[in-house]
Symmetry: C2
Subunit: 119 residues, 2 copies
C-alpha cells in the first residue's frame, strides 16, 4: 500500500548523497537479456546494500535501446562499496557484451521527492 506521507531522501548521518545518471545504449538484439540482468542487479543492490538509496532504471519508449539509470548513494563510500559487491560484478560481467556505450554523468540534487510504499 502507499503511505500518505511525502518522503524526501536523506541519509542516516545527513552526509551528502552522491547522485549520478548512467546513460547506456544497449545492443538491440540483446535487449531483453540486458533488461533482466539490470533489473536483477538493481533489485539486489537496493535490498542488500544500506548505502544504495535509489536505482531507477528506465528506457525511452521511442528508442528502447536507450537506457538511463538514476542512481542515489548515501555517500561516495557507499558507491565504492557497491562496485565491490558480487551482484554488481555479476551485472557487469553478464552485460559486458550487451552494452554499446556508457556515459556517466555526475549530478547534484535539487530535490528527490518520492512517496513511500510500505509493505
Amino acid at each position: 500500500m502507499l503511505a500518505v506521507l511525502s518522503l524526501g531522501i536523506a541519509t542516516a548521518q545527513d552526509s551528502k548523497p552522491m547522485v549520478r545518471m548512467a546513460k547506456i545504449v544497449v545492443d538491440s538484439a540483446q535487449l531483453e537479456k540486458y533488461r533482466a540482468a539490470l533489473k536483477e542487479g538493481i533489485e539486489t543492490a537496493v535490498r542488500v546494500e544500506p548505502g544504495v538509496l535509489t536505482l531507477y532504471a528506465v528506457y525511452e519508449k521511442d528508442h528502447p535501446t536507450h537506457v538511463t539509470v538514476l542512481e542515489v548513494y548515501a555517500d561516495e563510500q557507499a558507491y565504492k562499496t557497491h562496485l565491490q559487491t558480487p551482484h554488481f560484478k555479476k551485472y557487469k560481467n553478464t552485460t559486458m557484451g550487451m552494452v554499446r556505450s556508457l556515459e556517466l554523468v555526475e549530478m547534484e540534487a535539487i530535490g528527490l521527492e518520492a512517496k513511500a510504499k510500505v509493505h
Copy 2:
C-alpha cells in the same frame, strides 16, 4: 531514519505508472531562482497529490544549467490532474522566462527501486 526494507514503486491499483523525463535548460542568470521554484513545486506535488509518486530533480555538476526531472505518476490520469493543480501552474508561470528549452521524453520502467525513509 532509513527503513531496511527494499521498496519498489507500485500503485494502489497495480495500474501502469507513467514515467517521464523532462530535460530542461535554464537561463544561467536565473539558476538559483529556477531551482527554488522547481524544488517548491515538486515538494508540494509529492506531498499533496496521491498520484504523484516520484519527482527527482537533478542538475549536471559540469553543466548546472542542464536540469533533469524524472517523473513517476500512478497513471496518465494522475498526470492530467497534476497539470491542473495550483502549485504546478505557479511553477509554470514563475519559471516561464527562466527556461531556455524543454524536452519531454516518455519512458518505460525496467525497475524503480528505492529505500523508504520512514519519519
